[in-house]
Amino acid sequence: MTDYLLILVGTVFVNNIVLVKILGLCPFMGVSKKLEAAFGMGAATTFVLTLGSGSSYLINEYLLGPELAYLTTLSFIVVIAGIVQFTEMVIEKTSPELYQTLGIYLPLITTNCAVLGIPLLNVQEKHDFIQSLLFGFGGSVGFSLALILFAGIRERMEGADVPPVFKGSAIAMVTAGLMSLAFMGFSGLIK
């Protein structure tokens, strides 16, 4: 039980996928201008990643096995792409605005390195099914957390007197860096 809790806390805070592992920066930068979009993206990624790490575990364990290990990346991408497509349809149906705001970043979840990275890490760390699910869920919650906090700061900075050359992406990069710096404070908390 403690093991599971540690995986969860570890992936959300200590080894935050964005701010510590520096994975998935593309949507982190792209969909953090508005808080609502960040929530939507977080939810979509969490859904895809949890489902993705679960199913990729099953595929890896029962379909591929050790002899077809060279197919892991390929098959994971296929599965993730399928889930992303499904998510896209659901969002377009249920929330057209969110669909519009997320724009290209929604299908790009497929190529989000965090989304592929976590199933691959699962394989590497030899997690069992529950652990894989938790790792995927924790990782994506960590991603959402970072994204939402970041969006909060960026929304606030809309009104700041940022020097013109630093407006937009430049100051966002600086902010991401400083956030990463702050998250280093968690290092050593869980090995």
Binding site: L63, Q85, K93
Partner: protein, 187 residues
């Protein structure tokens, strides 16, 4: 090798089936975005965007055919709002599409011959008149689209800018001493 192919085909088949099913299940009818875009447009129905009225332009934007910077009456503000709604970058107006100050049409009644051509051109029926009768603009309904100017055979319609009055007067943006005024006004 064969197993690999088999495995991948099975995967593809299963996913394909699932997606096909959900494509039917979550089919989207129409584009609900059009109404939202139309709500932002100023409804002058002036056609300056190259589309016959605001809704056609909204449809064009929603379908990705038109750019968001083609509506001068909406002003920079309108572009900002569209950009926000659509999650794209705001951009400045193209050449020759700068917004003008708001105005209403005015019929010089000394010259009006009562030809009704302007009545037919007005997109919001804001011109009152009949054949061989004097025409006049219902100022409160006029959107300032200027569509009535061209058809007038005697050039008796002109645009009168709307002056600010005590009731429509707006408070100024406070001037910050430490921010150069050029920067304070730009955004």
């Amino acid at each position: 090798m064969l197993t690999a192919l088999l495995v991948m085909s099975i995967l593809a088949l299963v996913l394909g089936a699932g997606l096909g099913f959900s494509a039917l299940k979550f089919k989207v009818e129409g584009n609900p975005l059009v109404g939202k875009i139309d709500a932002i447009l100023p409804q002058t129905q002036c056609g300056q965007c190259g589309y016959p009225g605001c809704r056609p332009y909204a449809t064009a934007i929603a379908e990705g055919e038109a750019d968001i910077n083609m509506c001068p009456p909406g002003g920079e503000e309108g572009i900002q709002k569209l950009a926000e709604l659509l999650g794209v970058e705001a951009k400045p107006f193209g050449a020759g599409a700068a917004p003008k100050p708001k105005a209403v049409a005015f019929v010089d009644e000394n010259n009006c011959i009562g030809c009704t051509l302007c009545l037919q051109a007005c997109p919001v029926d804001a011109i009152l008149g009949a054949a061989k009768q004097m025409h006049t603009i219902i100022a409160s309904e006029c959107t300032g689209c200027e569509l009535c100017i061209a058809p007038c055979p005697v050039d008796c319609i002109s645009m009168e800018p709307i002056a600010e009055s005590v009731t429509t007067w707006k408070w100024q943006y406070p001037v910050y001493a430490f921010i150069p005024s050029t920067e304070a006004t730009r955004r």
